[in-house]
């Protein structure tokens, strides 16, 4: 039973990494592709400690896998925000919204 759970976790880790890569390739814009970083950094990294728990029980490796998951979760959020900010500054020269900036999403009026 534990071996089956372990194999399922490993398969989920591999699939989530592939979903992230394929999603990154399919996006039109780097800002959109940034969202797919969360598949390996959040989904796969969180599943990893559970796979180590099945492999070795409560061991030092499980603790380190948990630390890896925590670091990847935290750093993914920070790095993704910093990267999106860098893209914006590179494109329009500033970070804060100013008068005259192009509106990225325009809600269309409903037809009367």
């Amino acid at each position: 039973m534990i071996a089956m759970v372990e194999d399922a976790l490993l398969a989920a880790i591999a699939v989530s990494c592939w979903i992230g890569c394929i999603g990154m390739l399919r996006m039109r814009d780097p800002n959109q592709a940034l969202h797919y970083l969360s598949f390996p950094a959040a989904v796969a990294a969180v599943l990893l400690p559970f796979a180590f728990l099945c492999l070795s029980g409560w061991s030092l490796a499980t603790l380190k896998a948990t630390l890896i998951a925590l670091f990847l979760l935290a750093s993914n959020a920070v790095v993704t925000h910093a990267t999106a900010r860098a893209f914006r500054v590179r494109a329009i020269g500033h970070w804060e919204p100013r008068k005259g900036d192009a509106v990225e999403f325009v809600r269309e009026k409903r037809p009367q």
Partner: protein, 83 residues
Amino acid sequence: MNGWLMAAYAVGACLAPCAFVCLHGRPEWRLVGFEMSGAIVAVLLSLLVGGTSRLVFMDLPLTLAILNLGGGLVFARFLEKHL
């Protein structure tokens, strides 16, 4: 070959699309590919550690996960102003 090594090979194959993105196109795309490859390599090293049953080497992916934050921030900062 056990399940861990099979998963490691499957995850390692993800580095090919990351390399493609890193080596083509605008610098923004290259940075996204670099950050994706950093997260994937951390997972890959963990899977290799489990597959080879050398659990003492878990320090390697842990170090990479910590240093990946600094590397991503440095490249993002340089992309913002200098590249």
